[in-house]
């Protein structure tokens, strides 16, 4: 009875404002990124569409790694084996694809994605069944997966199907729309949107937000946790594939992806305590972090300083964010 006038009163502003308030952090991050792009154009006039394509290809593996990390952090866990899982899936992909037909390559991609899920499943099952803290389990497994990667291929090498390489190279529609950006958006959307609308997505947020309450609500906490790790494995495999696609080979040594993904998750507004945040924020955060490094290069600042600056920005931005939150909750 009271609902009807309520709905009638709601204009577009009434839905936009709460939405904006809820996503204030991500919107701020997008604004920051826009400012960075403008600034980049100012200091480096030659920054154009092809530079943007380079940026998109460069951030793709880390963006997928950040998404992988975000899923498990939302569920209240953490995965320190993402970099190793990427290395393992990447070398498996490069080794199997080398010298094979394009059609065979499609099969390889499917195999690698399944492999990623299995790796994540093993991580999750160990965390749930042994009750060893996730940070310990995944740290230990990071050595296992890295070792496996070296067993598969002792040195960088292998190959990649041409279609896979073409998937991330160049642009579509306009020069300003890099293919790899489209790939990123499509891949994340196809995997995450159905899940986030399902009971599984709800349960992932629930166990991350308050485990006990979720348990009492009848959420299968263990299963949900394992599923979250499996999803993380899947996204890590996608990140590994993107590594192979962009370099054309497989490298058995894990890159700096694990810790960078944690940084991106934090900067992307996902609470490390779990339950709060989304996947879009971390992706934007990855681009921001990459842009900062690019700008430092343009300004010809020593790359060692760039690392220092990156760290300070991370701490600073997160600090500003929590200050803003404190003020809001006090008001």
């Amino acid at each position: 009875m009271t609902a009807a006038p309520l709905i009638a009163r709601q204009g577009p502003l009434d839905t936009v404002v709460p939405w904006a308030r809820r996503n204030a952090w991500t919107l701020g991050l997008v604004g920051f990124l826009a400012a960075l792009l403008v600034y980049t154009k100012l200091i480096q006039a030659s920054y154009d569409a092809s530079s943007l394509q380079g940026l998109a290809i460069g951030v793709l593996p880390l963006a997928l790694a950040a998404v992988a990390q975000a899923v498990v952090v939302l569920s209240g866990g953490i995965d320190l084996s993402i970099g190793s899982m990427m290395a393992l899936t990447s070398v498996v992909c490069a080794t199997m694809m080398k010298g094979q037909s394009e059609q065979f390559g499609i099969g390889v991609v499917v195999i690698v994605l399944v492999l990623g899920m299995i790796l994540g499943l093993i991580n999750g099952a160990l965390v749930v069944f042994t009750k060893v803290p996730d940070i310990v389990v995944t740290l230990a497994m990071s050595f296992v997966w890295a070792g496996c990667a070296l067993l598969v291929r002792a040195a960088p090498g292998g190959g990649a199907s041409d279609w896979l390489k073409n998937l991330v190279l160049g642009s579509v529609v306009s020069d300003w729309v890099p293919k790899s950006a489209i790939v990123l958006v499509v891949v994340v959307a196809v995997v995450w949107i159905p899940i986030s609308r399902s009971m599984l997505g709800l349960s992932i947020y629930a166990i991350g937000s308050n485990r006990l309450a979720a348990f009492r609500c009848g959420v299968p906490v263990g299963q949900t946790k394992i599923s979250a790790y499996a999803l993380t494995g899947l996204f890590s495999a996608l990140a590994g594939l993107s590594l192979t696609a962009s370099t054309g080979i497989g490298t058995p040594v894990p890159g700096p992806y694990t810790l960078m993904s944690v940084a991106a998750v934090v900067l992307g507004g996902v609470s490390l305590a779990g339950g709060r945040g989304g996947l879009f924020g971390p992706v934007v955060a990855v681009v921001v972090l990459q842009m900062i490094r690019t700008d430092m290069t343009f300004l010809s600042i020593d790359s060692n300083y760039a690392y220092v600056a990156q760290g300070l920005i991370l701490v600073g931005v997160v600090m500003i964010g929590s200050f803003a939150q404190m003020r809001r909750s006090r008001a």
Binding site: T2, P18, M199, L202, S203, Y205, A206, G208, S209, N210, L212, A213, A214, F215, R216, C217, G218, V219, P220, G275, R276
Partner: protein, 529 residues
Amino acid sequence: MTVTTDLLLEATGVSKTYGAVVALKSASLAVRPGEVHALLGANGAGKSTFVKILTGVVQPDTGRIVVRGKERTAHSPAEARRGGLVSVYQEPSLIPDLDIRANLRLTKTPVEPFRHWLGQLGLTDLDLSSLARKVPLASLRIIDLARALAIEPDVLMLDEMTAALPANLTERVLEVLKSMHGGDRSVIFISHRLIEIAAVCDRATVLREGQTVGVVDVTAGSEEKIVELMLGQSVEGLSARTGDVAGPQSRTKGATPRISARSLTSGTRLHDASFELYPGEVLGVVALEGQGQDELFDILAGSERPRGGELLVDGQPVSFRHPADAIRAGVVFVAADRAEALFMQRSIRENIALPFSTRLRNWGLIDLDKEHESVDGAVRTLQIDARAGGEVRRLSGGNQQKVTIARWVAGGVRTMLCFDPTRGIDIGTKSQIYRLLRDMAEAGAAILIYTSELKEVQLVCDRAIVIFGGRVVGEVSAADGDEPTLLRAAYNLRAEAAVPEAVAAMLGSSSSGAEASTSAASTRPEVQQ
């Protein structure tokens, strides 16, 4: 195997041991359809273990649970839920980072019945798209209950659900429970408040030392019998007073008040708190939920700084920046939430000794002998069951609460602030705490106690102040402080309330603003008599 019975739920011979500790020896429970059945027991009687077994959180060692004639073993709350048994706890099981609608989806709760029950419980203006963590705690408890009711479980179990609910909402809950009489569903109601049991329950099952010791038909006058069963041999009067009516006479005329609050204000809740706390008295604070009492205690304990007003301790103006300042000035705080006050993984000794040792030795080594002496003394004074003392989290709730008090007793109490110190603990422990507070007051300490259980005022206080809408609006002496009077005062219904003239004058000037600023009062002005 099927059992021919008209019982809705029947548990027989349920036992559970944790290592060497026997939590449950032989518990039984029989619930008929359409009844509200109380499950009672002192802390440590095995009540919470029994509840956990019924709800599938832990598995029993032996015993049978039969629901609607079918034997059932639940391995998780989800299974118990599917089997028709849903629980509502003192802490609402809502996910803070999801909105209400998503929370309903999580438990597959239909929205329309949910809204219906929400209306029954008096919560009509809820926006389903608000995040659970932005909704006030009392409303969350109601939402949790409405959600459980909407699923229409065979057996609804309310575990201490009313323990931290304000009086007006408790009444609504009890009314809804009454309306469930005579249907084919049942309620298992767990509460430490016998008055609530008497109001809604048909029968009560009493546990003691892991065994079911009796099933009582709840009628007028059955409280005595229940208490007798719960306590076993050691039946004692609940009152802490030993014959004499300790009263205002212990307040020495002309003594300097330990605490003088003058027009303290803070945030949006506390507007004008003025009162005086004298040595040798127990001063009660009576208020409905959210009238500013939380803020007041935070200020007095040094956790928050007031926005305005003046605070005097022993006649000296003070401005606490930190709880350490308050402790140094002799003002110590016993929090309602034990999890907030205790170091759950550490021992009783460390929990008690921490504030005491920090005060004695700032940098040097801790004098362990002396520490042991004081700690042992405090443990003895409070009769803490220290068998599981290695880690405080393994103690029962009542014993944990005793530890939070003991840490201050060990160092000698000058002024103690207690915020609902007996919330959710059993009668035996309650009565020990009452006696302890009285003894401390006799010895010259000043004690300020907020209580959500109004009858405690007469049991332990000398007088009580009433806070309403962020203002101290009245004062009631213990002699006049029966429950109806206090409840009326808490709702700020001035008409028949016995308030001193001086306060009544103040009331006239401040109550109009107070009424406008409080929504809690407008929801339910009529009070059960």
